[in-house]
């Protein structure tokens, strides 16, 4: 008898646990979290990774000079386009002025990215560009320059 009552109580408790959100209006989040990357950010990351893969393939002798140069050009353009979308998405800084990327603006953008890598503010892990003087990446928390 006690066993039966206990079992029934237990079953009721489980059912109540499942139904409780509907009874009390407790909600699970359904939207994209503020800290989740956007599609554009993911594309930037993928483009940067592809660029690194080309570097790797070149340095391990799988690409010859000509293919390396042309691939790097293509990928750089992809990376820049993705970066631009990301900026447009973020809206926290103005998008580059030219709508269609000409060689010059790509070169400028790449130069900027490279400068940031050199300066250590662009994160080597996720490609996020941090403000000058950053020691840790604001996006992924990795150290971006030797302290």
């Amino acid at each position: 008898m006690i066993l039966t009552v206990g079992a029934v109580l237990f079953a009721c408790a489980v059912v109540l646990y499942v139904l409780q959100p509907l009874l009390t209006g407790t909600e699970a989040p359904l939207g994209r979290g503020w800290d989740e990357i956007t599609e554009a950010e993911a594309r930037t990351a993928a483009a940067l990774k592809a660029l690194r893969d080309v570097e790797y393939d070149y340095h391990t002798g799988k690409l010859d000079d000509r293919d390396y140069e042309s691939l790097r050009g293509e990928l750089t353009a992809e990376a820049v386009a993705a970066l631009r979308d990301e900026e447009a998405d973020a809206g926290d800084r103005p998008a580059l002025q030219t709508a269609t990327p000409d060689t010059e603006s790509i070169e400028r953008e790449i130069l900027r990215v490279r400068e940031q890598f050199r300066a250590g503010t662009a994160c080597g892990e996720c490609g996020h560009r941090n403000p000058d003087g950053s020691r840790f990446c604001a996006a992924c928390g990795r150290r971006v320059r030797a302290a």
């Binding site: 206990g6 489980v14 409780q20 509907l22 209006g25 909600e27 990357i37 690194r52 080597g124 928390g141």
Partner: protein, 687 residues
């Protein structure tokens, strides 16, 4: 407690069904409370299934023979070890076991994504609960109710099939089930991506990791099964192309294809429909594997289940899954268009594509060979088994092409590779392969398949070693690090790549072991105590076994009678020690079984089988001499240990690939952390 477990099973179904409905409705109407309720249903089903599982094991431990399931799979004398594992010894319990792991992984997935990938979660939860509901319905309504009572309580149970009384029984099935059930999570994410229309890179990220988890368990499960088969005679060595072995191989093959082709989608935005189809196919294969094992449709050493009703239920479910896959993919076909095209035939992409076609070809031949008996029976009324020769003839060449691709892929650059570089990169590895073949031919090896395997194996190994070396050297040069440091950083920075290469090395080692089986040697003879048997090994050793007669013993309260043959073993005239080989007779189920003697070294195994005893009852009665005459088979199997070493390397490689990147604050940050793992460090970009 047992009643509580039974009640839990009955409560689990309505909760799972409720969760299924409320998850889809909540997802569609953007109702957070409904989705939360559905997610809680996942946790609740897990808790309830844990209780059910405990109850079943407890029924075994308490010898509750009034339950049909316990009476048929246990007896009083069964060691505790096997009583607890009674949960997955038969069809009914193993279906509970399926739901147990499925609900465990589902809970893990829901918990892991409690505040990320939220857009996916309603449909993910709904899909997971749909699969759980299916299995719960089967358990409760398909004549496989695990708590079915007998009209009377027998004095004792019928005992566990002797072939299952091996310690691998507690390891192999659970590992395989982990692999089968874990794949439901990638499947659920794929369904959710299709339903929600969020077909960008994020579902791929989650799916890839979970696929790797499932793939890892499947691979190890298969290897454990091989080990089990190798130790239990009558299962035909370590692999016999048994329908259930095949069934476990199928999802592994398609998951392997997926793990490769997914990289093309990540990097190039291509093959989206293909990848989606592979996820569906792999999941259907896991259900198919469960179905084959648990329906009794096809004769198999594993078939301990004979009910047919369950077969129709499973077939219907698989049919619905296929239909759902086709409809969903067609519905979203515009969103699944490729962003790019393959730029060159000579590229990593096309190598991966080729690898996919070959893997699917292998899967297809395995399905065909497995279902062939069923098809012929349907058409002609007679079962025709195709047997190992068919599988070997078809799958050895396929396996060799795959093996070669594991070496070719890494050397080809993404997007487009130049011929000149290819030739340069292939020169050394090809030379190593050809060199090894030349050496093997010189020392007398003639088997063409074995030569091809060793040649290609050497080629692949050289590619991998050279890759590690070049990567380390490049990193050391660019980062100014020492070689050892550069090597560690190299692996740490791109765990997927290098973990993958280590897995490739494992595959080479395992293939070498398979190829070496063509050099097995054996003698078989009927001998008296004092007689000797000598066998030459492929490595030139000479093993001599001196038969010292039989001893007998009764175990498990007379349920098992053992005849144990004792041997002195010498290698090249030097004494190694003693070995035993056994025959057993399980009196409860009246089944004989054989326990082989194995003496293993890293390069060859001495494998002794007691095939026949002249007068078993005479020996039992204490007679010696003629009664002890026995047919003994002695084999020397080269490189068998390499399979198990390969498994170990496979595990190391998989763990490296799976190891999470630390500090992933941003969640689909899974995407960031991994997508942006540089191959040779950030400096590579700036060079």
């Amino acid at each position: 407690m047992i009643q509580l477990g039974e009640l839990a099973l009955w409560v689990a179904l309505p909760i799972a069904l409720w969760g299924t409905v409320i998850a889809f409705v909540g997802g569609r109407n953007r109702r957070g409370d409904m989705v939360l309720s559905a997610e809680r249903a996942v946790y609740a089903v897990f808790l309830l299934t844990v209780l059910t599982s405990i109850a079943i094991s407890l029924a075994f431990v308490e010898d509750r023979f009034d339950f049909w399931y316990v009476a048929n799979y246990s007896n009083r004398e069964l060691p505790l070890f096997y009583k607890i594992s009674g949960l997955w010894a038969g069809q009914r319990g193993s279906l509970v076991f399926w739901v147990l792991w499925l609900s465990f992984f589902s809970s893990l997935a829901v918990w892991q994504n409690r505040d990320r990938n939220r857009e996916f979660m309603p449909y993910v939860t709904g899909t997971l609960l749909t699969v759980m509901s299916f299995f719960l319905i089967v358990l409760l309504f398909a004549d496989v109710y695990p708590f079915e009572k007998l009209p009377f309580t027998p004095q004792d149970g019928r005992g566990l099939n002797p072939q299952l009384q091996n310690y691998w029984m507690t390891i192999h099935p659970p590992t395989l089930y982990l692999g089968f059930t874990a794949f439901t999570v990638p499947f659920a994410f794929a369904v959710s991506a299709l339903l929600s229309g969020r077909l960008d890179a994020s579902w791929i990220q989650v799916t890839r990791r979970w696929t790797l988890v499932s793939w890892f368990f499947l691979g190890n499960g298969i290897l454990f099964g091989m080990r089990w088969a190798y130790e239990e005679l009558g299962w035909g060595g370590y692999w016999f192309w048994d329908p259930v072995e095949n069934a476990s191989l199928l999802p592994w093959l398609t998951a392997t294809a997926f793990l490769h082709s997914i990289q093309i989608q990540e990097k190039r935005g291509m093959l989206k429909v293909w990848n989606m189809s592979l996820v569906f196919l792999t999941f259907i294969m896991t259900i198919f594997a469960t179905f084959l094992t648990r329906s009794g449709l096809i004769e198999s050493v594993h078939t301990f289940a004979q009910e047919l009703r369950i077969a129709y239920i499973f077939l219907t479910f698989m049919g619905l899954l296929i239909a759902a896959g086709v409809v969903l993919i067609l519905w979203r076909k515009d969103d699944l268009k490729s962003d790019n095209q393959i730029q060159s035939f000579l590229s990593r992409e096309s190598a991966f594509l080729f690898n996919n076609l070959i893997l699917l070809g292998a899967a297809f031949t395995v399905i065909w060979g497995t279902l062939f008996p069923l098809i012929t029976e349907g058409l002609t009324g007679e079962k025709a088994n195709v047997g190992p020769p068919f599988f070997n003839r078809v799958n050895i060449p396929i396996g060799l092409i795959l093996l070669a691709l594991t070496g070719i892929g890494p050397v080809i650059a993404w997007r487009r590779a130049s011929k000149r570089n290819l030739v340069r990169n292939f020169l050394k590895p090809v030379a190593m392969g050809v060199g090894l073949v030349a050496v093997l031919v010189t020392i007398g090896t003639r088997d063409p398949w074995a030569l091809a395997t060793f040649g290609i194996g050497a080629f692949v190994m050289t590619v991998i070693v050279v890759e590690f070396w070049k990567g380390t050297r490049a990193r050391a040069r660019i980062e100014g690090e020492g070689l050892a440091r550069a090597f560690v950083h190299l692996i740490a920075r791109n765990r997927r790549r290098w973990g993958g290469y280590i897995v490739h090395a494992a595959i080479v080692v395992i293939f070498a072991a398979f190829a070496a089986s063509s050099f097995d040697t054996e003698v078989r003879d009927s001998i008296f105590p004092g007689d000797q048997l000598t066998v030459q090994s492929a490595f030139g050793h000479s093993y001599t076994l001196t038969y010292n007669g039989l001893s007998t013993s009764r175990g498990q309260g007379d349920w098992v009678i053992q005849w144990i043959a004792l041997f002195d073993v010498e290698r090249d005239g030097e004494r190694l020690g003693t070995m035993t080989a056994e025959r057993r007779f399980y009196t409860d189920s009246e089944t004989p079984s054989s326990e082989v003697g194995i003496r293993s070294t890293w390069y060859e195994d001495l494998y002794v089988i007691l095939a026949e005893v002249a007068d078993m009852s005479g020996v039992l009665g204490g007679q010696a001499g003629e009664a002890e005459r026995a047919v003994i088979e002695v084999q020397v199997n080269p490189l068998v240990s390499w399979i198990w070493y390969g498994g170990l390397i496979l595990t190391i490689g998989s763990l490296i690939a799976l190891w999470p990147t630390e500090g992933r604050a941003r969640s689909a940050g899974t995407a960031v952390g991994e997508a942006a793992e540089p191959a040779t460090g950030p400096a590579a970009v700036t060079t």
